[in-house]
Amino acid sequence: MRYTLTHLKELEAEAIYVMREVYAQFENPAILFSGGKDSIVLTHLAKKAFWPAKIPFPLVHIDTGHNFPETMEFRDNLVKELGVNLIVGSVQQSIDEGKVREESGKNASRNALQTTTLLDTIESNNFDACMGGARRDEEKARAKERFFSHRDDFGQWDPKNQRPELWNLFNGRKNMGEHFRVFPISNWTEMDVWQYILYENIAIPSLYIAHEREVIWRNNSWLPVSEYIELGPNEKPEVKQIRFRTLGDITITGGVESAADNLEKIVEEVAAARQTERGNRADDKRGETAMEDRKKQGYF
């Protein structure tokens, strides 16, 4: 037993290896940072991979303008602490420039619009590899994703024509204009991420911890009341103790009722959970292959 690693240490070693490969194989890589727990873990792993040097990548945030204020504050503090560059791609700007059109109606969201802003940001900054915190256990289309995922010059993913990926040998070769998405925590599950946050004592936005908030019941979850959502005639805001299992836009991220007000309790709650974490994401409920369709176009 002496020369074996725990599952968390093995996953950590794998992610660090992948990030160092990205640094070595690409000229201008970046970390896609949403402010959610997965990208926070990714950033923590980048710190470990290059210590005692600074993280050699900028953080890229695709800002829909519909953020939780807590996420923004967390992001700005982290960037200051790490001393890295922050690059913000603004969906509002894409709308103002007429590149995308805002959805209307009660369930309107800027989720799908992010793809255009993301691809524009990648192109204008000449990023040749963007690391993301997506995990294969999240969704069925993601179960087939590679660590090094090739994107054509339109940023598209072709799931049926992916490069085979064997052993630890990653092939990051590409033509001009193409780029890669890289997913160092592909093999982690939601449980692994929480256990690792607990084990490493990683700071996360307070939104993940149970707190009181004004919410409405919509699409089977507690949606936070904010200036960005339209209330229906029968929707009445109430105050509930909730926490979020994933963080996306404030318009589409539903919370769950929870008493888990510290990390230990969250890990216990995740272990006992009966719903997948994306079960509360309105963006995945737009049809059975919603994620696959968005990914093919260049989504995260």
């Binding site: 020369y3 074996t4 690693l5 725990t6 599952h7 968390l8 093995e10 950590e12 070693a13 794998e14 660090i16 290896y17 160092r20 490969e21 640094y23 070595a24 710190k47 470990k48 991979a49 290059f50 210590w51 005692p52 040097a53 600074k54 294969r136 256990d137 069925k140 289309a141 179960a143 087939k144 799931p159 049926k160 490069r163 085979p164 064997l166 052993w167 630890n168 040998l169 092939n171 070769r173 590409k174 592909s186 093999n187 599950t189 449980m191 692994d192 256990q195 084990y199 490493e200 004592n201 990390l263 230990e264 890990v267 216990e268 009966r274 719903q275 997948t276 079960g279 292959t289 696959e292």
Partner: protein, 430 residues
């Protein structure tokens, strides 16, 4: 490293969990998807919303039971055609271990996908329908598992319910498999009679097969010894990148970052840097959590040396008395993964550990019929999904070990320079 001290022993259990990677191969008819669905379902790894979705799909398809195979449904085309196109990775955990399943299709692009799934696996699950016994596909899966040196094979004799749970029927298939397996190079082979559909011996012990005294599948997966699956003897550290902070606190720091590919590295060890041939001593083995007394595969670490030597990506740190071979003529067993076969004297980029060179396919020695394991010495025309023994000539020496001694330093991929695609994977023979 902050372990919070307030946790109970029970919630600390995850700190002792190990990771087991296994691969499954087969077609829908073997019950492979049903078996995976059963493992996930009976080990309570499936969430209620997934169960609800599968129940409603089962009803829509006019079934009167929950079709467990739907839990492993994937992309749009796969759902429409009822096939698996690509390797899919699935995850579940028990209190003892976390499992990663590389679920590979049995028919389409089978070699390419099985080889990919097998390359990182500790264990291969082979499914045999008790009514059909060992068929071509069984041989193919087993051969690839053996070729890729998966340390453990678990052969599940499935659909026992359709053979009246008969010991005789089971024994017959086991004997048939053992006869065939004598040609393979696998050290650990186990057999389990199961019914994936009804759950016999998958997670729960079967009440229908009192004659079977062995372990259930899940218990086998949870307890099989995987501690020796890495090479802890031959020290190999392929350098990925050099870390130079240029900060006030670490002004002269120069660390060689990489993932240990074999052996155990300790401060004070004499080391040799290849290909330059310079020698030095290890000064420290660093991580952000502090320096380590020893480090071993598959850890990612940063090593500093006592002497200032010029070292860069692609170099390898080893022990002076235990070196890999430096060669330009490399004998490999090659799996061709691309739709387009190689042309005569074709040139490729070869990737090996963190190193890269160009190479030419000098000679094709023979092809292997993966159904019969026969050598085909007359047919040297390589096409998609073929396996062949070839001689490569590289533009510079590579630092190699035989694949059966070290999967990390014994494996290569070939990349087509025109398309940038990964066209072949190879296991180094010598």
């Amino acid at each position: 490293m902050s372990t919070n001290n307030i946790q109970s022993n029970e919630s600390n259990a995850y700190l002792d969990m190990q990771l087991l990677r296994f691969t499954t191969a087969g077609s829908v008819d073997d019950g492979k998807s049903t078996l995976i669905g059963r493992l996930l379902f009976d080990s309570k790894s499936i969430f209620q919303d997934q169960i609800d979705a599968v129940e409603s799909s089962s009803t829509k398809r006019g079934l009167d039971h929950v079709d467990l195979s739907l839990f492993t449904d994937g992309l749009k085309d796969e759902r429409e055609q009822g096939i698996t196109i690509d390797v899919a990775y699935r995850y579940f955990a028990t209190p003892k271990r976390k499992f990663i399943i590389a679920d590979t299709p049995g028919h389409i692009q089978y070699t390419r996908n099985m080889v990919t799934g097998a390359s990182t696996a500790n264990l291969a699950l082979i499914l045999v329908d008790v009514r059909n016994g060992v068929i071509e596909q069984t041989c193919r899966h087993s051969f690839i598992a053996s070729l890729l040196q998966i340390p453990h094979l678990v052969v599940c004799i499935n659909k026992m319910d359709l053979a009246d749970y008969s010991e005789e029927a089971y024994d017959k298939v086991v004997a048939q498999y053992k006869d065939f397996a004598s040609k393979l190079d696998v050290k650990d082979i186990r057999f389990i009679p199961i019914s994936a559909l009804h759950g016999d011996n998958v997670v729960n012990r079967s009440k229908n097969m009192d004659w079977y005294e062995g372990e259930t599948l899940l218990h086998t997966l949870e307890t099989i010894h995987i501690g020796s699956d890495h090479n802890h003897i031959d020290c190999r550290l392929p350098v990925q990148t050099v870390i130079r902070p240029h900060s006030n606190d670490y002004h002269d720091y120069r660390g060689y970052a990489g993932r240990i590919a074999g052996g155990i590295f300790k401060p004070g060890d004499d080391v040799l840097v290849l290909p330059s041939g310079f020698t030095s001593k290890i000064k420290s083995v660093d991580t952000m959590d502090g320096s380590l007394k020893e480090a071993y595969a598959p850890m990612s670490v940063t090593v500093t040396l006592e002497d200032d030597i010029d070292i860069s990506r692609g170099d390898m740190i080893v022990r002076p008395n235990n070196q890999p071979e430096q060669k330009q003529d490399i004998d490999v067993m090659l799996c061709w993964l691309n739709q387009q076969g190689p042309v005569q004297r074709a040139k490729y980029v070869v990737r090996h550990t963190t190193n890269e060179a160009r190479c030419m396919m000098k000679e094709i020695l023979y092809k292997v019929d993966i159904n019969t394991l026969h050598r085909l010495e007359d047919d040297k025309n390589i096409g998609p999904n073929d396996i062949a023994r070839v001689q490569l000539r590289t533009t510079k020496p590579l630092l190699v070990d035989p694949y059966d001694q070290n999967r990390n330093t014994g494996s290569i991929i070939l990349v087509d320079e025109a398309t940038n695609e990964t066209v072949a994977a190879g296991m180094i023979i010598g």
